[in-house]
């Protein structure tokens, strides 16, 4: 067990937690905002996959990871336009379209990747990191001289992510956009009556969701894996939906949830490395089991926007 306490292992634990947590953080942050505006993006997995593929593609051909992240975000946003057009605009069922997006994304990325890269299987190098001066030299939380860094030595995109979380929280609470988003999810007719376009509000929230999920996917392929692989998201989109709903509309809780989940995956690795025999089935179940137990013991009405997943039609009876 003494192995557990070495600084290298603890650093790796944090690094692993961040690697696993950041994709979830981006995706569930986007989902949370869209849900507050009343749009349930069941197709999050699809956005992430597309973001992962195009992020990888841009990073690979452009030779620049930052461009890759932008490319992933743009691709995710582009796919979310399907949702905007079909669901927000025309009022088609969000769950049907969301699932269709996931299926199309799974099929399309596998198909194109297979056609282009199955033989060459390119990988990307390590994503460049920035070391926070001073702090990055600290043991465990510093991580300047390790493979995947630690809290104070991460690729800029991770810090940008934290800034986005803060900005999102502030925007939701303090700005007109935020107010509109909250109203669009709780009572779109009121927003409409106040002269604000429900469609536009929901559309922007959905595009934000697409961009964030695409960014999460791009992080997954560019930084977390350094390559693309069919179905690389492995169901993370659905986990992100769960996290977004558990966050009850609060950006901070998205942050906490994502990293708790990331760390719990990372802990299972570290325990195994330390020789503690533990079933990964069990460990993977743990965060969910914990949440369920908490819900059963302290279960109270969970907050979800009243108009979630309902199309808004002006004056409908």
């Amino acid at each position: 067990m003494s192995d557990l306490l070495t600084t290298d292992v603890l650093t790796a634990l944090i690094a692993g937690g961040i690697l696993a947590g950041v994709p979830l953080l981006f995706a569930s942050l986007g989902e949370m905002v869209a849900e507050r505006a009343g749009v349930l993006n069941i197709g999050l997995e699809g956005y992430m996959l597309i973001g992962a593929y195009f992020g990888f593609l841009v990073a690979y051909h452009g030779g620049n990871t930052f461009l890759g992240f932008l490319g992933g975000a743009a691709a995710g946003a582009a796919v979310s336009l399907i949702m905007v057009a079909l669901c927000v605009q025309m009022g088609l069922d969000q769950i049907v379209v969301g699932i269709a997006i996931t299926l199309v994304a799974e099929g399309a990325t596998a198909l194109i990747f297979d056609a282009n890269f199955a033989e060459s299987r390119p990988t990307l190098g390590a994503t460049g990191r920035i070391d926070i001066p001073g702090l990055s030299q600290l043991p465990v939380v510093g991580g300047a001289d390790t493979s995947d860094g630690s809290i104070f030595s991460q690729p800029p995109i991770v810090y940008i992510g934290l800034i986005i979380v803060a900005l999102t929280a502030w925007t939701l609470r303090r700005t007109h956009w935020g107010l509109n988003i909250r109203a669009a999810g709780d009572k779109p007719s009121a927003l409409d009556a106040a002269g604000v376009s429900v469609v536009a509000t929901r559309a922007w929230a959905t595009i934000f969701c697409g961009a964030m999920a695409g960014l999460g996917g791009a992080y997954l392929s560019i930084t977390a894996a350094g390559l693309f692989e069919d179905f690389i998201t492995q169901g993370r989109g659905f986990i992100a939906i769960v996290l977004a709903m558990l966050a009850r509309g609060k950006a901070l809780w998205v942050l906490i949830g994502s990293f708790v989940f990331g760390i719990s995956l990372s802990i299972s690795d570290v325990l195994q490395i330390a020789g503690v025999d533990i079933s990964t089935d069990l460990v993977f179940m743990l965060p969910f089991v914990t949440v369920i137990v908490v819900l059963i013991l302290f279960g109270r009405r969970s907050y979800l926007p009243a108009a979630l997943a309902l199309p808004y039609v002006r004056g409908a009876r």
Binding site: A12, T123, G226, L265, V270, G275
Partner: protein
């Protein structure tokens, strides 16, 4: 096992086989299990002068129609290249009376219909263990597996035994990505990074798609204290073409060609299914030779290989995590 001495003669005498077929779960360009299977089958077909019908990328769930179709399209031998096919394939074999090769299901072997292939891959892993122990600077070896898979456990145990035969004090850091994370390359990278952070400078990695993530982790890793480089040892296939950074120390190659040739020969001889086949160091398991180790090391490995083939070295069989743990602790 069966003797492989007759393979060449058998191939020429098996003129009755016009077509053989292979069904594999993933596409045959994965630098791994599926590619090895397809390449082995293609080579065997070629040497028998038979046509080859490849149904790769068949997945696990719809395989019965695939196998039936292969039979209906005239295959005289079907290779069901996945242990996941080992219940459905005999069913199709029985119905169409097509000799069928299955994996990891010894009890399925039925005269004239089904022959099972067992892989003694632990033998190759043993050799990999020797190579790793000779290469490591930190004295710590990493083992990463993508799933709770018997083949992975067998090789993990063989690897540990081989390494310990060189240096009894060598330490192991072993971790599994997930229950079935065969293709989770992000997970592969995460876990491999952690194993390296725990001090391993040679990582023995087993996975399908996940292997690519492991390789990437090794490529981008910062070497642990005491080492100047981190190495990766792969399994089943040969990833040299995609090893841009030169970190691929070796790979435990599974070459099915001889086994499939033998099966064709046995069909010709009317003995197919009388017994199963064993893929071992004597007929297809080997260690990929690279120039990342010295000739002396390779000589030592060749020596060990001969000893395993002759039975002088007995490689332990560790079919589950508990058995592996007993070896690496």
């Amino acid at each position: 096992g069966s003797d492989d001495s007759s393979s060449t003669t058998a191939a020429s005498s098996a003129a009755s086989i016009e077509k053989i077929a292979i069904a594999a779960p993933e596409k045959g360009n994965d630098y791994g299990w599926n590619q090895q299977g397809v390449e082995g089958a293609t080579a065997a077909a070629e040497s028998a002068g038979a046509e080859i019908d490849v149904a790769d990328g068949s997945g696990y769930d719809d395989v019965e129609p695939v196998l039936r179709r292969l039979a209906q399209r005239g295959a005289k031998m079907i290779i069901a290249q996945a242990s996941g096919y080992n219940t459905v394939a005999p069913k199709v074999a029985a119905e169409f009376k097509v000799p069928t090769i299955v994996f990891d299901s010894p009890s399925a072997t039925t005269p004239g219909e089904v022959a099972d292939v067992e892989t003694s891959s632990q033998q190759g892993a043993y050799l990999a263990g020797i190579l790793a122990a000779k290469t490591t600077k930190t004295g710590t070896l990493g083992i990463v597996i993508s799933a709770a898979d018997t083949n992975w456990f067998k090789q993990a145990g063989g690897f540990a035994a081989g390494a310990k035969s060189v240096n009894p004090d060598v330490k192991f850091k072993m971790a599994q990505i997930g229950q079935a994370a065969y293709a989770d390359s992000a997970g592969g990278k995460r876990v491999t990074s952690q194993v390296i952070a725990a001090g391993a400078d040679v990582v023995f990695g087993m996975g399908d798609g996940a292997s690519f993530g492991m390789l990437q982790a090794v490529e981008t890793a910062k070497a642990p204290a005491g080492a100047d480089k981190v190495w990766f040892i792969d399994v089943i296939g040969d990833k040299t073409p995609i090893d841009k950074k030169g970190v691929l120390l070796s790979s435990v190659i599974w070459d099915f060609t001889k086994v499939y040739e033998q099966a064709i020969a046995d069909i010709g001889a009317g003995t197919f299914g009388d017994q199963g086949y064993d893929l071992s160091v004597s007929n297809g398991i080997s260690l990929l030779r690279t120039d990342h180790a010295s000739d002396e090391v390779w000589a030592e490995i060749d020596d060990a290989q001969a000893k395993i083939a002759s039975g002088e070295i007995d490689v332990p069989l560790t079919p589950d995590q508990a058995a592996v743990n007993a070896l690496i602790k």
